[in-house]
């Protein structure tokens, strides 16, 4: 009987315990882009005029840039301003959270700006509307002509706060601007902001230029030029405009890239029908041969720690991707899939390699792990190649050539970007046709 009683008590105890805390697993949610309201920045009435800038519209203009940046990510859904429920200045002081929630916004960006004594002062706040609290707030002071960059920097801060990873808006893209018929393309180096604004041309188009790439500080560019009909790798200082040939090679050098510390250029040198990979130290000018094989070894790309180089080679018969130590030892083939692989580019996070793949008359941009496993093809087209990573390793920019007819009419080359998830493919705005894009790192860290 006593035992029975015990049993009874245990039973009751168990039941009680099981009532104690209900746990519910939430494994699914809404996968739509996050609704975010970006209020125009309030322009302080004390603001003075500044040459060439419409101060009155500056608040709208800055918020428009932020909005465009966020829409382009595919992760956010900036809401229409017509629905906004509060004036910018009041919202910036203290939003009426419940009103903003009514238009289904989950986050709100507010801000104000002041132009005084030739200085632009901008501050912004990011609000969590559900929690009814401020998530982050910052202020910047700069020259008014820098207003676009301020908009990009604000975008980066908000992006980082809301996604947990660095942004990529305060960046530039260098590319080859193209014009004219395909048989006689005129190609110039061009540089623009990531959103297509502020395009500048760095060469005149007198000679063929190809494959520009930024150095880590974005001050220098290495590229290939047919100056005086000598195809060579060049180094260009963007600020000063000075250029020089890289190394003194008795033949064509091409496919240059910087090492992650910016001290070396890795490139291919072609001699007697054989292309191998070399590096040149920019300080000491010492040239080192990295590969020595009677095949075409080209498109080298350093890993972000500088310890490895990925490249493509046709030593197996067809173009495939290989990885080796940066001194040329331990060469390993990493692609074994059907098709031809080229242009490996190591991601800034170090965990992926982006590449171009050719198979059955189509060109793909894809990513895989650095050992070649986990290949994912992101986009397929008639012709596209040369991916370049956004500095946070989330987006790839590449170029795509299309023709409207079989005879080559309507030929065009454009820059495109795609998320490494394979979603959010979109064309980048460029003034002219464009190819060979290279994405800079963040201009301000």
């Amino acid at each position: 009987m006593r035992k029975a009683l015990l049993f009874f008590f245990i039973n009751i105890f168990l039941i009680n315990k099981s009532f104690a805390l209900i746990e519910v697993d939430i494994t699914r949610g809404n996968l739509d882009p996050l609704p975010i309201a970006i209020s125009p920045l309030h322009v302080d009435i004390k603001s003075e005029n500044y040459e060439g800038i419409k101060i009155k519209d500056l608040g709208e203009d800055i918020s428009k840039i932020i909005e465009d940046n966020f829409r382009a990510t595919g992760l956010f859904n900036p809401l229409k301003k017509e629905a906004f429920v509060q004036k910018p200045d009041i919202a910036h002081l203290k939003p009426r959270f419940e009103d903003w929630r009514l238009i289904k916004a989950q986050a709100l960006v507010t801000g104000k700006l002041l132009v005084l004594d030739g200085k632009l002062k901008v501050e912004f706040r990011l609000w969590d509307l559900a929690a009814a609290k401020e998530m982050t707030a910052l202020a910047f002071t700069t020259t008014p002509s820098n207003w676009r960059r301020v908009a990009h920097i604000i975008s980066d801060k908000i992006y980082e706060r809301l996604t947990g990873e660095e942004g990529y808006f305060d960046t530039r893209i260098i590319y080859v601007s193209e014009s004219g018929p395909k048989e006689q393309r005129v190609k110039k180096l061009a540089i623009m902001d990531q959103d297509g604004a502020n395009t500048k041309y760095l060469t005149l188009g007198n000679e063929l230029v190809l494959t520009p790439r930024f150095n880590p500080t974005n001050q220098m560019v290495t590229y290939m030029s047919y100056f005086r009909n000598m195809p060579r790798v060049y180094l260009l200082d963007i600020e000063t405009g000075t250029q020089e040939v890289v190394g003194n090679f008795p033949g064509m050098t091409f496919a240059p890239r910087f090492s992650p510390d910016g001290k070396k250029i890795v490139m291919s040198f072609a001699k007697d029908g054989n292309s191998d990979i070399y590096t040149m130290d920019l300080d000491t000018r010492v040239v080192e041969r990295i590969t020595d094989h009677s095949s075409i070894d080209t498109s080298p790309s350093f890993s972000p720690d500088g310890k490895f180089i990925a490249f493509n080679s046709d030593r197996s018969g067809l173009q495939q991707i290989y990885v080796m130590r940066s001194d040329g030892s331990e060469v390993k083939r990493i692609t074994f899939g059907n098709g031809i692989y080229g242009t490996p580019v190591w991601s800034p996070r170090g965990d992926l390699i982006a590449f171009t793949k050719m198979r059955k008359g189509s060109f793909y941009i894809g990513v895989m792990r650095v050992d070649g496993s986990g290949e994912r093809l992101l986009t397929e087209n008639y012709y596209q190649e040369a991916p370049s990573w956004s500095p946070n390793g989330r987006v790839l920019v590449f170029y795509r050539e299309t023709k409207s007819g079989l005879k080559g009419e309507g030929f065009s080359a454009k820059l495109w970007s795609i998320d490494i998830t394979g979603y959010n493919e979109r064309r980048l705005k460029t003034e002219t046709d464009a190819s060979d894009p290279s994405w800079s790192s963040l201009l301000t860290k």
Binding site: F8, L21, I22, I26, R28, N30, P35, A130, G164
Partner: protein
């Protein structure tokens, strides 16, 4: 001795039986309420926990829209037809469709009939979305294993929830409500171990008295930015969902509630 044991066993089984019988009986009422029933359609999908349910949900939404547009048009009972061509059901991802169109100028007419096909499902079949969802993905074979795993987990949690006093449909109603409120941060890496546990204290009407993240210190640890982003999104979801859809009775059982937010499966798919 043996007699007392028998007494005890009969007594207890009676007690257990009573609990089993009385609980669902008491809680049958809310199921008849229209709002919950309407969510119920989704819940059943959710309950079976197929990884593709979000996609399925989108299909359902699309289908519903289409149906509203075409209420007048007669529709042949398409059950067999739909099963014939499971591959033809489009992934309801707009971006992907856009991509295809840009890609090859694939005759856009081809896309439309696909969409229409999905609209041919009738509402009753939507209940069966779990099957559809499984059919949608071509990689279902690979996922089949996963699905089984999931089912196991759900089963165990079924028992759990039963023991805790929420019926399946109640738990699912709550889950479905939060699914709708939770904007998953899409930029999160899917390979990281990200699980956010939130403990809630609720009022009788389902509003929140207190919400607390269980691993709160992790939020402000350097290098845990993704965790912080996820935790904040989970908190937002709970707040936006207020009042939560709680049962009208049994307040003592659910006044303290723990929600475990895990996006891994979604971000992977």
């Amino acid at each position: 001795m043996i007699r007392s044991l028998i007494y005890s066993i009969t007594f207890h089984s009676l007690l257990v039986l009573l609990t089993i019988l009385s609980l669902p009986f008491m809680l049958r009422e809310p199921i008849d309420l229209p709002p919950i029933v309407s969510v119920e359609l989704i819940q059943i999908t959710d309950k079976t926990s197929i990884p593709y349910a979000p996609k399925a949900r989108k299909i359902i939404e699309e289908t519903k829209k289409k149906e509203e547009e075409r209420l007048v048009s007669e529709q042949a009972p398409p059950a067999a037809k739909a099963k014939e061509k499971p591959d033809r059901i489009p992934l309801p991802n707009e971006k992907k469709e856009e991509k295809q169109i840009i890609k090859k100028k694939q005759n856009p007419e081809e896309v439309k009939p696909e969409i229409r096909q999905s609209s041919e499902f009738e509402k009753k079949e939507i209940v069966d979305t779990n099957q559809i969802a499984a059919l949608i993905d071509k990689a279902k074979e690979v996922e089949a294993v996963k699905k089984k795993e999931k089912e196991k987990i759900t089963q165990s949690s079924q028992k759990n929830s039963f023991a805790t006093g929420l019926t399946l449909s109640q738990e699912d109603a709550l889950r479905a409500q939060i699914f709708g409120c939770w904007s998953v941060p899409l930029g999160l890496p899917y390979d990281k171990d990200l699980l956010v546990r939130i403990k809630l204290q609720l009022k009788k009407d389902g509003t929140i008295i207190k919400s607390e993240i269980l691993d709160h210190q992790r939020m402000n640890t350097p290098g845990q930015k993704f965790y912080k982003v996820l935790a904040e999104s989970a908190l937002r979801a709970v707040r936006l969902c207020q009042p939560l859809k709680v049962p009208p009775t049994g307040y003592d059982k659910w006044k303290n509630l723990q929600l475990n937010f895990n996006p891994a499966e979604m971000l992977e798919g």
